[in-house]
Symmetry: none
């Protein structure tokens, strides 16, 4: 009684500072994925809005620069909202191609940016949003922190899906939260292209007894605008993020091996019937847990600085 769904994994970079172009790219990949029978297409972290790798936004300890502020303003302008036109366009692309789209986006709310993942169903609806809980290092200068209210695990044609972005995958308590919500297909959009990424994905699959599918950007210097200061430091073909998208089954077997050489789209078939077999000897929130010793309290409140009481 188990189905055999297919996921398309996109390994590509944004068109930096050009969100319409990025969305066209997203549409192209989505159309191809749909043609090839995928039920869901996964894009990397910050795909919409971009991950301008290598910038410092003019910050040193104790100082910011005018140039850095301008850089940020430009970056801010390329970000999107859940309700905006760009989001509606993506919803429509999903509907037109009868496929789910899960993509990294740079989201803005008020004056703060978030590194988010948007989940669009094939009904053309934004089903869920996750905001990265902990930006890493300099990311903390451009992105805010998500809160406990955006940690969805939802039903989809490929099973119950949830997501952890880049180094959120090194947050064991967040992972346990996803396990506890029943994640079957754990989506990991990232820009981390180290060799150690695959072992990490394997371990999460083994620990959570779920499929893990990771999509990483493949970013070249030429994805920056021609006039961008960074261009002068690199040749056009220089690779800034080298990919490494991968997939692993619930017993730790690698289904999609990283390819660090090119942009592209890969397909993974998921035999969901393996899940109960894999949880026979390890169910991280069931028989293989010790709630009498360890109990994780998760606060899912929407955290707002000001609360108005009527």
């Amino acid at each position: 009684s188990f189905s055999m769904p297919k996921i398309a994994v996109v390994q590509a970079g944004s068109r930096l500072y050009d969100t319409p172009a990025t969305l066209s790219l997203l549409e192209n990949y989505t159309q191809d994925a749909a043609k090839n029978g995928a039920d869901l297409v996964l894009f990397p972290e910050a795909f919409v809005g971009g991950y301008p790798k290598g910038l410092d936004f003019g910050v040193v300890l104790g100082l910011r620069s005018d140039e850095g502020r301008s850089e940020y303003a430009r970056y801010f302008n390329g970000a999107i909202t859940a309700e905006g036109e760009e989001s509606k366009r993506m919803a429509k692309i999903a509907q037109e191609n009868n496929i789910w789209i899960v993509t990294g986006v740079v989201e803005k709310e008020g004056s703060t940016l978030y590194c988010s993942v948007f989940f669009y169903s094939s009904l053309g609806k934004l089903e869920a949003v996750h905001r990265k809980l902990l930006p890493t290092a300099l990311e903390r200068v451009v992105w805010g922190q998500g809160d406990g209210s955006t940690m969805p695990v939802i039903d989809s044609p490929v099973g119950k899906i949830g997501t952890a972005i880049c180094w959120e995958n090194y947050m064991p308590l967040y992972r346990v939260t996803l396990y506890s919500k029943g994640v079957e297909v754990y989506l990991a959009p990232t820009v981390d292209s180290r060799d150690e990424w695959l072992p990490t994905m394997q371990t999460i699959a083994l620990e959570g007894r779920c499929f893990v599918v990771s999509s990483c950007q493949f970013l070249r210097a030429r994805d920056f605008p021609d006039d961008h200061a960074l261009r002068s430091k690199h040749t056009d073909d220089e690779v800034l993020i080298r990919g490494g998208s991968c997939a692993v089954n619930p017993l730790g077997k690698v289904l999609l091996t990283p390819d660090f050489t090119k942009e592209g789209m890969f397909y993974v078939d998921l035999d969901l019937s393996i899940i109960p077999k894999a949880r026979f000897d390890l169910d991280p929130v069931g028989h293989y847990s010790r709630p009498d010793v360890f109990q994780l309290r998760v606060n899912e409140d929407k955290k707002s600085t000001v609360v108005f009481e009527k």
Copy 2:
């Protein structure tokens, strides 16, 4: 002012790996029990979902096998949930026959199985669930542990009922918990068919000053599917669990003597008026206890690895 209720005690085996067939069997017994005036029909441990006695699920120390995982997946598929269709069917059978059904089931929640007892009232409602607290020996490999939140004692037409499954009957602190909740008719679904079972039931009746009614499976090799590997090891009529259902009154007198020869259904009439007489000289949680010396703390929390706070 005491009534004289009747319990039907089913001594039968599941149709292994065929839950619909087992439910039909359950319906047949229930109809007969109702026709014969029973107020409640009791089925053995794991009756729905089955107790595939003699299997090892491919586990030896340090190893699991693919065959064992597949066996487990097959077993997992036959398990039911409290809210699922199978449970609704049983609730309807109870309602249609105007009788209570108390039955052992293999319950699944998430990816973990539990050895449970479901209590259906004649109103067609699942009134209560108990999950076995301590699986024995190899059971620990296929079943998780229940927690303190599913230890019901509830009113029924046959008096206050509670349950202890198989070797839970050797957990004195759990028994005291049931006494403390006022159990009058202690139901003991089991697959233990040793000679020592009857003395154990007598002693619990004497200690708790309650009726004890035990229903044991009568399982033959042919209750496995024809294609099951175990079939080749046995003749069809070989008995794997030989029954031994029994009932005892609160002064330790045997009301239903074990019959180890056949599948069947037996009836027990309960003269509840004997309970206060029996507790005249022994009330295990009242005048015959020493709370100044011994005090049992019972934690009834629902133990969850993750607790969401909103």
Copy 3:
């Protein structure tokens, strides 16, 4: 590396109101037991001091009689103290015969009587005392309640021994306390000669995974003094307590079957090597317990109405 010790189980009645005669009887049995190679001889409940079965001590609801008070005074006079001459005599008997003696006694402290068990080692020392925690029915009129300070489990040549007297055996929380202290040979002196006693002993052996050895009085009317009022109600040979001493191994197998026909002494050999095997699948205070759900608090204080602090 396990030894094979032997216990002698005495099934005899006291010489009522004649403690010196009872001690002589105890000495005779002890000598025989020692000659036959026993390591420990077990006497029944209240053997020293007596269990004048059938008396009512002149109490009805709301009244006591002078005759009842005198009967009680006579009974009080036959009771002994831990430090008194009778106790020293028993210690000496144990030493002279190089055997342990465990015997029920009626103990007095101040003006209250207790139904106790005294443990004498072959070194001629009173090693431990247990006082019955809960007298049953009319016993409550002649005996006080022990407290948590006299619940010993001690090393002996037959393994770790502890005791529960008569219906204390129906106190599950006391039994768990003995298991927790590591009892290996559970001694159950009694005056209960019902048919249900053997099943109770079997169940305790199964639950505690220990040997259970029970010694019951065999009391005839002629054990009362000739001049006692009760003598006129009975023929001399009328049996007031019919025995039923028994022994069971940790898997519930009966080692000594009750004989309800005569006074006598029986022998039981204990193969202690069976204990770890029996606890393989059930260790009531180890792997087969759920301390996260059930935790028993035991107060071992010596409870004294007045505490002197100097």
Copy 4:
């Protein structure tokens, strides 16, 4: 500023085994008391539920009889609960007659009986319950022991009231507990009709510097049902409990002298202004105590064999 309240003291027996009839009797006395201006009406020990004086419930040492168990079951059936219909009826009688009712009852909780006192206010509410801490002699066979959680001293129109039942009056540490809670009017329902009762009441008044009001049953053989076995042993008019209700002021002066000849109701007026005068030279928990030498520790925990923690 002291008021002069009036207490009605009932000297009557229960209609044994006929709780509705006893409640009607209670209602009649209450109506009369209210008409005569009493603020509180006091009934004897075990008035509701009865004190079947002279019964032995078939217990002798080592034996219970079927007849005794049936007698107990009959007695059990006549007992009441704090929340039951009988209690509601008494609350309503108090409210309708605008009077406080303090009465002895045989209370049941679970399968154990207690000898209790229920306090109903004129608001029609059960304000407090006290359970006898130490049943005497054969009472120990039919009643359990109360614990430290039911030792109320509460405000009432006749001053601060508390109670000690029958021989609880010989528990000096309980009395000191009541003094310590500020008892002004010490209510002593009883079935003790010895000559020594009045001196005891005087001494408590002197020691506690409080009013003591004692209500004793006046029970005749005909208060048993016609078919009761005890009836054949007595003439109808034979007096089983002869009364002796009395009252004493805080200086030991007798306000109501015992009348051992008849059923009836007596009135006592309380001049509360005498209390501080009496405590001028003796305040048992104030200036006339030596807490540096004697300190009484009182444990008011509700002692429960099982404690549920959720």
Copy 5:
């Protein structure tokens, strides 16, 4: 095995301010008692040293007078010490007459007086001392408070004896302390000659299940020196303390009825065999206590204002 000892109870007044004369009186009574076969002779409170009833020692609130100071100095001079000549004389009287003497004395230590009881054995030894713990009313102006180090219960030819002086008998925690130490013959020297004294003594006997023997002064105005100011207020024969010595058995029966008319000496025979009979249904520190609810802590330290540490 119980003996039948005899106590002589002296009802006489001191020769006030003339200790040698009082000691002669004491010797006379002792000789008579011994001749009449008494084992112990009991004198009233403050017999040696005197109870100058009716004096105010010149104290009003906020003021003392010179006359009062002088009165106190005179009183102080008549007091004795445990080691002094007067005490040695009494020890010798006891030895010479082969009798125990228990007498009230006014004891001095340093500059403080205590109302004490001295126990002399027939061996001519001061065996024990008790100092009154709580002087009453104006006594607090002339006597200090004893501490927990002088609360003896000791063996004697009349059984275990202890003492409570005058209104110490209204200190329930002190009485319980004496019960706990095993008092069998409770000696109550007093100067309280109210009617309520006998009921108090009866109640203590009933509560403690012990013999109570009380000796009260019979003091006339002429017992003051001729020159004493008080003499002018009274006729010589006016009775200032009227006696009322009495004795009660452990079931509350009066053995010696008060005689309020004269000085004299009375005899009481004690049938100690009644004690266990009486404690059959009430042992205040054994089976009739609730140490789980009430626990009395007694501090027996010798309380010294300055403690020297070596």
Copy 6:
């Protein structure tokens, strides 16, 4: 200011059922490790006591066999206690060689076995014990569950050390507990020799920013006794557990690559100065956590079925 300590990693199997021989093996390896300058020698899971891989202890669903019980008894006999002779011998070996020993042991307490790790310091002291929290699959039949009281992280010459045994490494909440206690060198004794083990170790190092050192058994069929039933199923040289010991630094770099071909001992040097560098961008219990969203509650109570309060 960081030192460069050395760890010796033993890859060897026990001499099954021969604990003295295993201890000699342990001593040999320890001597070699010390000679080669190691500060700490790490042995695999269950090294002392053994991991009899491939056994089923005679358990199938619903049945245990006599042979299985005997096998268990044999296994039980080879287990050790923290205070026993074997433990003292290991402590002495550590002291004599001036080295720390951390080793897997099969520990017994009462009648239950635990899979533990014992930490011996070079002072010859057993410094800490960890008991496996969750046995896997068939292990649940032979080992009990540890509780929260044995989760040490302690100082040692190689830094702060803690341990997780075998699949405990897949318990994220336990790992977070160790991180929270400050583990620097995370020791992972195991019998898991799958290919996926190394990625798991890498991921833990990356997540916890600590060194991870894992020691796996290398077990051959001939490590079973000659007479063991399992011997007939294998050739002597057949490998049952193939090793795979490894070590990883806090940035995920492999320091010791698994060798699956032979028994042996390997050395790892730890440059502890890398730890703060590695935690610059990821501190799992510091700046890289979200306690406002995720809070882990850890219960470190010693869980005991019975708690004695004195």
